[in-house]
Symmetry: C2
Subunit: 303 residues, 2 copies
């Protein structure tokens, strides 16, 4: 049926690292089909590589939940803007493979861009409205690229469950929406943000920060802590909280705010009064590096 599959696919770890690296789409399709035939469940962690503890927490959860863990490593060109960091985005397959092995993943799916996007590629998946606000405003086309590549991966890897990080909150919300809207038979699990000791959310882009910027970058999580604190003190007007966060961040000379927003977790629209389950989210350029962070308000708000 459909795409021609290589014959006699054998599922075994052929690499020294103990994790099999698959580069061909058809091979990945075939291997997943074999696992499914054997009633193995597949957990899938899509990444752009440069793996850190945030990614590893996803792989660990996938390992816990499933028979087979597939990690994709693909720096997806369609989610980068023209002036963004596609070229300089950190890449280190050897180290990533070691980490995947360490966490017990079976397979790294590592396709190249020419395979994922042949010259005649024309199809995109878009989630309207949710993709235009927050990060979508300063990164037009970004989420279109993300959702398209995730849809492709879901068809290629055919996982039972896919794992995403809460750090990319808008991404997780958009992907959940796309999965529901297109009836994609994959469960989406979103795992908590992993942070440095001082609070900075882990990101592959943190390596871009120089010493001064790295120190200043902690202001993102600090501003979120402050917001939580204010809310506990019953300040429930989002504008007041955003104003305070704004003031705190602007004290850092390397920081330039892209947005600070307090929104509904489903439709990403700004809310008028703080309530349980809202999303406080921000993007700040520290030096030339764009960082994001967020919290979901988990406690009951007493007014």
């Amino acid at each position: 049926m459909s795409p021609a599959l290589p014959k006699n696919i054998k599922i075994k770890n052929t690499r020294k690292s103990g994790v099999k690296i698959i580069r061909r789409i058809e091979e990945m399709v075939g291997v997943s089909k074999e696992y499914r035939k054997k009633n193995k469940t597949i957990g899938f962690v899509p990444t752009m590589g440069a793996l850190h503890q945030g990614h590893l927490s996803l792989i660990r959860q996938a390992r816990k939940d499933n028979d087979i863990v597939v990690v994709s490593i693909f720096v997806n060109p369609t989610q980068f803007g023209h002036k963004e960091d596609l070229k300089k985005y950190p890449r280190n397959l050897k180290k990533d493979a070691r980490l995947c092995k360490q966490e017990g993943a079976e397979i790294i799916f590592y396709p190249d861009a020419s395979q994922m996007y042949p010259a005649n590629h024309r199809t995109y998946v878009t989630v309207e409205k949710l993709s235009d606000c927050l990060c979508g405003k300063s990164r037009p086309g970004h989420f279109k690229g993300v959702v398209t590549v995730v849809a492709k991966f879901f068809n290629i890897v055919n996982p039972d469950v896919a794992y995403f990080g809460q750090k990319d909150a808008q991404q997780a919300i958009i992907i959940k929406r796309a999965v529901a809207d297109l009836n994609i038979p994959v469960e989406i699990k979103v795992m908590p943000i992993v942070r440095e000791r001082d609070g900075l959310a882990l990101s592959s882009r943190n390596v871009y920060l120089n010493k001064k910027e790295r120190k200043d970058a902690v202001v993102l999580s600090q501003s979120l802590d402050m917001a939580k604190h204010l809310i506990k003190r019953k300040i429930l007007d989002p504008r007041k909280i955003i104003k305070k966060m704004n003031e705190l961040i602007r004290r850092k000379k390397t920081a330039k705010i892209d947005y600070i927003s307090i929104v509904d977790l489903k439709n990403l629209e700004p809310i008028k009064r703080i309530r349980e389950g809202c999303l406080i989210t921000l993007a700040v350029r520290v030096g030339r590096t764009r960082l994001i962070d967020n919290i979901i308000l988990k406690f009951k708000v007493k007014s």
Copy 2:
């Protein structure tokens, strides 16, 4: 795992007609899963109902190729423009069910629009460029609606093979492109146009035609026959052929040409010289009814 499935799904024909009508998405997902577990192959024919011999030829082919045949009947609102015929589009489930039974289909998937597109639906699949020309020009958004609903159906029904009619040539080309681009594991088969004795391509919309219009409507297929004839006489300049077709059609007072185009079968771009495998395609409004027709040039062109 992902969407909750109804327990204890039993696959049997519960309707007197011998074809089971499934209205709930989750039930269709569950039934398909059961078939897949039993290694049954599923052939899928997506339709908007008002079945005619064109549809039946697809169902027959599906019957020939697969263990199980699923026909969807869904008048998809997202592929109709505001001023188009969504409301008056012919609907006749009883007759359609009888025809499906007659052709040996196992299942009619018959969801309603509120299930397919809940209020918070935001996700669309678009095939860029290919969707903007020909019918896409006078029906903006049409193919976005088509590809989105087909992507949804593919995830719900999970077929091995899906069947489309060559009459909707642009639709078939766009769907093939989307399937390849998104790595959707479904084989697409496109079946020949079925025609009335006088040459008119079968369409559910032919019922809109009054007697005079019905008579005039034959001019679409006549103009294609003429084009073939001209090409056999070595007239290989598309402009000349289109001019002649135009003249022929304009003789009918009820006819108003939307487009006549001779294009490359892959990228739908106008070609400069007739060649084997090109698509000659046209849309004509006959009275208030928009009709389409086309041929693919199958013979070698000798110059």
